[in-house]
Structures are given as C-alpha cells and as structure tokens.
C-alpha cells in the first residue's frame, strides 16, 4: 500500500512518453556511489496492522484524562464539535492560502482568529499563529529588539523555564544578552530596567500559577525606553485584566488550554499579538480584509514583504509553516464557548484549584509555595522528591505533581485543576497523595 494510483500499463505508457525504460532510469543520472543505499526498515504492513501496532503502543501509555498535572499544559475538555469541524478535509489538506479566491475558508477563519486573539489580549494585531508559546515568546522578543534597536533582554523567573530556555537559544543566535529577574515570594519584583534593555518579559499567571500585577514593571520598562512582553494563558484572559490594559506591548502564549488535545505536548499553537505600530516588524502571516473586483468582501494575506519567501535574508523571521489548523481550532473553541462560557471554564478551574490546594495542605509535610491568588495551578513543597511522588501516584492511576525545576526551590511540584474536576475527584486525589507521601 503506497497510495499511488498507477497501474503497470500506465507506468509503461508514461515511461515511454518521457523516454526512459524503467523507473530506475529516472535516477540514472545520480552518482552511482550513492544510489540505492542499503536501508533497513520494517516490512510494509496493511493499514489494519498499522492500527493494531499503534493501538499496542497507545496501550503502553496511561492516558491522563483526569490529571492534576500543570506546567504550561493542562487537561481541559476537548470539544467534539471543534474536533469535527477542524478535521473537515478542506481545512486539513489545504496549503497556505496563497490563492485567496479558493481559500476564503482558511483566510476568513484566520481573520476571525486574529480578531479573537486581539480581543483576549487587549491588543490590536495578532499574526496567524506561531509554533507554540515558547517560540512565540522568542519571536516576540526578537520583534522588540528590531523595533528598539537594543540587544538586552530582561526576563522574569516567573516565565516558564522551557520558554526561557528557548528564548536563550534564539537570543544567543543574534548575540543578544539575557538577564533574569528572580522571583520574590513567588512573584516578580519591581526592578530597575537598565538602558541597554530593549525587552522586559514577565508571565501572568506566572509559572508557579500566581497572578501578578505587572503594571509597575511595564511602566518601568517604558520609562527606560524598553518594551514590555507579557506571556499569558489565553484561558485566563476570560477573567483577568488583559495585557494590553497593564501596559504590555506584546502578548504571547500557548493555545493548548483552548480545547486542544494535549497530544504529549503538541501540536498546539503559539500566538503573538501586538500593537498596530509594530505591525511591519511582525513575523509570520497576517490576513487582511479587502474587496474583490466586484466589490465583494474577501480576505487575503497581507504585508507579505515581511516574510521570508519575499524578503529572504531581510525577512522578519524565517517562519513559513506555522500552526494554522490548531490555531483555527482554538478560534472555534473560543466561538463555541463565547465570553460567558469561557469565563465559566476559567472560574471553575480557579475555584477547583484553590479547593485542591486547601485539601492538599491538610496532608502532613505539604507546604504552600505559590502565593494566593493563583489561576488553575499552584506549586506545593512536598516532603519527598516530586519525581518519586509522580511515579507513585501514577502507579495508583493518578497523574499529578509536575516536578518544578530546582531553581525555584527544593521538592516543589505543580498541581492543577480545571473545569473537568469535581469535589470527589479532588478527594480521591488527596487520598492517593496521602498514601504516597
């Protein structure tokens, strides 16, 4: 099974037309030394056997439907309606909409996505998506460096450690320097912003789940001529003050919490939203409304001079493939829930997370670490190595206690609760945790 339609007769007729005798002849001009290398792959299988083998592999995993794991990805409901619409063949198998006349589906849906992300963040312009939250952050900071012409970046320790690592990789590439603002009491303190710093970055809710008032830091950044980049949880923005309202020039984040399957970490999507003033520095695709020759409304890729396939070495980024489909599914999720529905989902998780903390703090040796109020996750100090705790919980069929890197302190672990948890789930989890501590 190779999905090719050719019959033997057709292959013969086509070979004749192109003037060669065999399929091998099509490769005759390649250097002989490299042709037909020995390659060892498993034998082909019919599709039912592939599915069977995959089911076997899937069976070696313990899916974590009602998990209490946090750390930048959480268990939320994945609405079947979004999955069904997002897997329509036309959305799934289209390319980047370079021919707008036959791509209004993707283009209009992207325009709507851009609108929703701008609304959530309180900013003006969203691109069509980035790979994930971490690369959205890196690209957002690079945008700032281009805009400010500075090469210094100051990032709060409250930003997801993996995001900071990715940022570091990207910044080293362009020779920019990266400083860190250590958390104090689980929150980002107000610091002086040195002159060489172009971008100040903080996360809200931060990696430990705590809500932060970032307005003073944004103001400090602006006073120093820098721009402020906020890393945000899009679900939280149903409830929380949007970054645009506390002075962020750029908001970035990851869309997984908007109803996307966790998929062991991806694909989700990253978003990057900013002010109109910076639009010409924006990496990635952008869709604009326009009209056709008959005056009918239509949508089209715009400001393409920023992009690699036009601008090449002078492009704002090398990004081409992004996370279009998962971003559209995020938009479908937002539309499916609406402002009220989204707020309810946010609130329920906040409530359950606080309740969970309360319950877990009754266990001996467990101490609070993340200050209140937090969003849907929080860190606790455990009396044991969190790696061991996580494993012992898994043996009991529970997933919880995401180990927190040592830089934040010893024996810390993240716990999350969402709209999928009810009181009895929390109680059962507490019992399990009690047993393993």
């Amino acid at each position: 099974m190779d999905y090719t339609p050719h019959t033997e007769e057709e292959i013969q007729a086509m070979l004749e037309k192109v003037g060669v005798e065999t399929l091998e002849d099509l490769y005759a001009h390649l250097p002989e030394e490299i042709l037909n290398p020995p390659i060892h792959l498993p034998d082909p299988m019919p599709e039912w056997a592939v599915l069977e083998e995959l089911s076997r592999l899937a069976g070696e995993n313990l899916p974590a439907r009602k998990a209490f794991l946090g750390g930048g990805a959480r268990f939320h409901h994945v609405p079947p309606v979004v999955q069904a619409l997002g897997s329509r063949g036309e959305f799934l198998t289209a390319y980047t909409p370079y021919q707008p006349e036959v791509s209004q589906g993707v283009l209009q849906a992207t325009f709507e996505y851009q609108t929703m992300m701008a609304e959530l963040t309180g900013l003006e312009v969203s691109n069509a998506s980035m790979y994930d939250g971490s690369t959205a952050l890196a690209e957002g900071v690079l945008l700032v460096l281009r805009e400010t012409g500075r090469m210094g970046v100051l990032v709060s320790q409250g930003v997801h450690p993996e995001y900071r690592e990715v940022l570091k990789t990207y910044l080293e590439a362009v020779g920019a320097s990266l400083g860190t603002i250590p958390l104090e009491g689980g929150r980002t303190p107000l610091v002086e912003v040195p002159e060489e710093v172009g971008a100040v970055v903080a996360q809200n809710p931060n990696f430990l789940g705590a809500l932060e008032d970032l307005a003073p830091l944004a103001e400090a950044a602006h006073r120093a001529g820098a721009l402020f980049v906020a890393v945000v949880d899009p679900l939280s923005l149903a409830l929380l003050k949007p970054p645009g309202a506390y002075g962020a020039d750029i908001a970035v984040g990851d869309g997984q919490v908007l109803g996307l399957p966790l998929g062991f970490g991806g694909p989700h999507f990253g978003f990057l939203v900013t002010k109109k003033a910076f639009v010409r520095q924006l990496p990635g695709r952008l869709v604009s409304e326009t009209v056709d020759v008959e005056g009918k409304r239509g949508f089209i890729l715009t400001l393409q001079a920023r992009e690699q396939y036009i601008r090449r070495a002078k492009a704002k980024s090398n990004i081409t493939t992004n996370a279009q489909l998962t971003a559209l599914m995020g938009a479908m999720y937002l539309a499916a829930l609406g402002p009220e529905g989204l707020k309810e989902v946010a609130l329920k998780g906040v409530y359950m997370a606080h309740r969970l903390q309360e319950l877990l703090l009754t266990l001996p040796g467990v101490e609070a670490f993340t200050p209140k109020p937090f969003f849907q996750e929080f860190a606790l100090r455990l009396p044991k190595d969190p790696l061991e705790v996580r494993r012992a919980l898994a043996r009991r069929g529970f997933h919880g206690a995401t180990p927190v890197p040592r830089e934040y302190g010893e024996n810390l672990a993240l716990f999350a609760a969402t709209e999928l948890h009810e009181e009895e789930d929390l109680l059962a989890f507490r019992e399990a945790l009690k047993e393993v501590l």
Binding site: L23, L26, P31, L54, Y95, P267, L325, M332, G338, R391
Partner: protein
C-alpha cells in the same frame, strides 16, 4: 452576498457550549484588581450556528481532498485518513506525565528517529522542531555551535545559498546571525561549481542546498561539492523540502551532507492544515550530535526516556517534545509503505512530474532548465502570458495552480510538483486545461476567475490600509 463573519452571526447573550454547571463567583476567588473590566468581545453563537459557519467556510476552501494541488516544493500529496485515526489514539497524554506511563509514545518517537536516520543516512536526530524553517534554524545553530566549539565561531560568519534556494534558507541564516551570500546557478540550473569554489573560504560556516533543487534538478556534482566543503571546513546543510524525489533511492548523508532537516508535512504525509502545524526533525552526522537540542529520546535499560544530558547542546528550540501527533502520522506512513513503498512513491513522483512536463511542453509551455528534472519542474507560459493570469485561469477551470514566480531565477515561473498520488488522467486533464488557457481571449484570462467564492482581490488596498480584525477601523 458576503459570507457572514462569525461576529456578524453573534447575538448578545447567546450561548454555545456550557461546560460548567455551578459557576463560582469571580470576586470570591480573585481580588478585583486582577479582573478585566469588560469581557473580551468574543462571538456569541449557539452550537448549530458554529457548525454551519465553519462547515460553510470549509466549503469555500479547496484542499488536496477536493482538488489537484500541484504546488512546487510543497509536496501536496494525499494525507491518509488512517493517520487521523492514528493520532487520536495518542490525544490525551500530558507532556509531563511520568515517563513510565508514556513508554508507547516514547518508543514511537525513538523508532521514528531510527527510520529517519536510516532514510537520510544520518547518525543522530532531534524530533523537536515544529516545522521546516524551525528545523533549518535548529540545524544552522548546530553548525554554529560546532564552529564555535572548534574556535572558528568568530571567523566563519557567512552562509552560502544558491540563488534558486527557498526564501527560508537565507532568512534562517540571518536569524542565526549569519551573513548570507548567494551562489549563482549555472546555465544547467545546478550550482555553478566555479562560483562556489570562489566563495569557499575560512569565513564560510555552511552551504545550504536543496537537492533536487527548486528547479527539480538533482545536483549531479554533489559529491564534489561536499568534498570541497569538507576541505574548506564548511558544513553542508540539506534542506529536506524536496526529499520526496529521492527518498529511499539516495541519502543526503551519503552525498556528504552534515545536517538534514525533514518536512514531515511534505514527504511524510502530515497534512498541511492550511499552513501548519508541521514537523521538521533534524538529522546530523556524529560530529554534530553533541550540539543537538534537548531533550532527545533515548533507549535505556529501564525503557525509553527523554535525555537532557547533552552539555554542548544548542539548548531548547521548543517547549515540550515537538509536534508529537505529527510524528505519529509519519510513523504510520513509513510503516505502511516500508522501503519498497517509499521508493516506488518517490519514483512515481518523478515519473508524474516528467510526464506532466512533456504534456505541458506539447501545449506550448517552455521549460528553461530542461534537464533531467525530478519530482518538480519550472515552466514558463509562452511570451505574452503572465504566470499570474495562468494561475487565476486555472482556478476557474477547477484546478489549484502551481507555485508562481518562484524560483526567482526564472521569469514568470510556474513551479509544478504533481506528487505521486495523482493519477495519469488527472495530469492529462490539468495539461488540457493549461493548453485551453492559452487559447482563451486575453481579456478572459486577465479577469479570471469568475465563479469562485470571491474573484480577484484588491491586494494593494490590503497592504495600504490593512484591516486586520473585525473591530479594526482599517
């Protein structure tokens, strides 16, 4: 009539999905200062309206599932429905689960890595990058780290790319802090070897090549190029966008490439999704393995695990472990075809392109670099015709056009890649349509398309006064 925006379907107070029964009060949980003053203006629609909206939008969209889609260098092949079901099997795994509870997922990643190494002739691999360009950046950063580690980081500041290269190549080199120099193509469309020699120097860090290149031509002097690169201490980078032409038949590793990125959404059938998400694993030769990003998937005594033990690593390039669900699809594809299937698919992708090239030439199209082209070729319409008009005319006749105006070294370029999953009669029907267009009145062509959901759009207006959101005043 305009197709309504979801915002135009919205009604104040209307509700769709309700996921929460008893809603706690915000004020009881979070101090007012943290709360937003006005709710975000999201659409307010019921579920049926949502379904009609997006179903209708999908009906205003073409894809491989509806239409022949011969975009050069994009490899728009069939995306098996099997793979969607396969991906669903792994939907509910958290990236931070205990590794003992994700052994199946880790094994799949490890196995896929082995397959891709075997197919590219590489010795180590990362599955982390989320797309081709992301893989390029990763690969170039690996090369950079290698040079720096050898103390040549400060001198080797140039990356060479051919003038026929994908735009992402120079853009990537820039992002990695390199200066980009273009190497001209020779009259045969392959890299001009003499020009390349002139550019090779201790200041060069890497050469980025696509092979076959964007003209569809295999760089026949690749072994000499790689020898020269090696002698000059220059790393050779393979852009995998066109791997579909040779997969199983020849390996970048054997050609002397040091780094390869793959586009799983091209060669390995991950659906393009309207522009993503994809996946761009990067394979390297052993001398570059120390610089791979973390984490990598390794096999140990206690099973599979994510390894962070790579002191010279370039660091992380993405959160978590890459676009895992894309990896599942690629794994399924490779296991379904095996080596014989992959080789057959590659050969038929070449045969399809060659056949279509002949048909187009018969109908008056020119092929400026008419060498032994492989999975794609670049044609030009006859004098007096614009590639854009040909493209728009094709839309009217029910085909998706080829890539136009690329590569830049060919004027009015039509870059055609039919892929192996298209049938002989589809190629013939397409050629027929291409011929038909040349017989159309000039005016018809310049105004096409006519019956698509919208007609030619005002791009200038979008550029001058972009309206980027529903609430944007433009």
């Amino acid at each position: 009539m305009n197709y309504p925006l979801i915002y135009e379907r919205s009604r104040k107070g209307r509700r769709g999905l309700r996921l929460v029964k008893a809603v706690p009060k915000a004020e009881d949980l979070i101090p007012k200062g943290f709360l937003r003053e006005a709710p975000p203006r999201l659409p307010e629609v019921d579920e049926l309206t949502l379904v009609r909206h997006y179903t209708g939008l999908s009906r205003r969209q073409v894809g491989v599932d509806t239409t022949f889609y011969p975009l050069g260098s994009c490899t728009m092949k069939y995306n098996p429905k099997l793979h969607e079901e396969a991906a669903r099997l792994f939907a509910h795994l958290h990236p931070y689960q205990d590794p003992a509870t994700v052994q199946g997922a880790l094994r799949l990643m490890w196995e896929l890595g082995e397959y891709l190494k075997a197919l590219t002739g590489m010795e180590a691999i990362t599955l982390e990058p989320a797309a081709g360009a992301h893989g390029e950046l990763t690969g170039i950063l690996i090369i950079r780290a290698y040079h720096e580690d050898r103390g040549e980081g400060r001198t080797r500041r140039v990356v060479l790319v051919p003038d026929s290269a994908h735009g992402s190549n120079p853009a990537t080199a820039s992002m990695a802090g390199y200066q980009v120099k273009e190497v001209p193509s020779g009259p045969d469309g392959e890299v001009d070897l003499e020009a390349l020699k002139r550019e090779l120097s201790p200041y060069v860090a890497a050469i980025m090549l696509t092979n076959p290149n964007t003209l569809g031509l295999f760089e026949r002097r690749i072994l000499e190029i790689s020898r020269l690169a090696k002698e000059a201490g220059v790393q050779l980078y393979y852009d995998g966008a066109n791997l579909n032409a040779i997969v199983g038949w020849a390996r970048p590793g054997d050609m002397g490439f040091d780094v390869v990125h793959l586009n799983l959404h091209k060669t390995f059938t991950v659906p393009h999704g309207g522009g993503g998400p994809g996946s761009g694993p990067v394979g390297v030769k052993a001398h570059l393995a120390p610089y791979l990003p973390v984490p990598t998937v390794e096999r140990g005594a206690e099973g599979f695990y994510l390894s962070f033990d790579r002191p010279k690593s370039i660091g992380r390039v993405r959160s978590f472990h890459g676009n895992f669900l894309a990896l599942v699809r690629a794994w399924a594809y490779i296991r379904t075809l095996g080596l014989p299937g992959l080789k057959k698919a590659a050969a038929l992708s070449v045969l399809n392109a060659r056949y279509l090239k002949e048909l187009l030439k018969e109908r008056g199209y020119r092929v400026p670099y008419d060498g032994p082209t492989m999975h794609e070729f670049v044609a030009q319409p006859p004098q007096g015709f614009r590639a854009l008009d040909i493209a728009k005319g094709l839309l009217e006749l029910g085909f998706h056009p080829p890539t136009v105006y690329f590569p830049l070294i060919v004027k009015e370029a039509l870059m055609v890649e039919p892929t192996e999953t298209e049938s002989k009669e589809t190629l013939e029907a397409f050629a027929e349509a291409m011929g038909e267009l040349l017989a159309k009145p000039k005016e018809w062509l310049e105004n096409a398309p006519y019956t698509t959901p919208v007609r030619r759009l005002d791009e200038l207006r979008a550029n001058k006064t972009p309206k980027l959101t529903y609430f944007d005043e433009a």
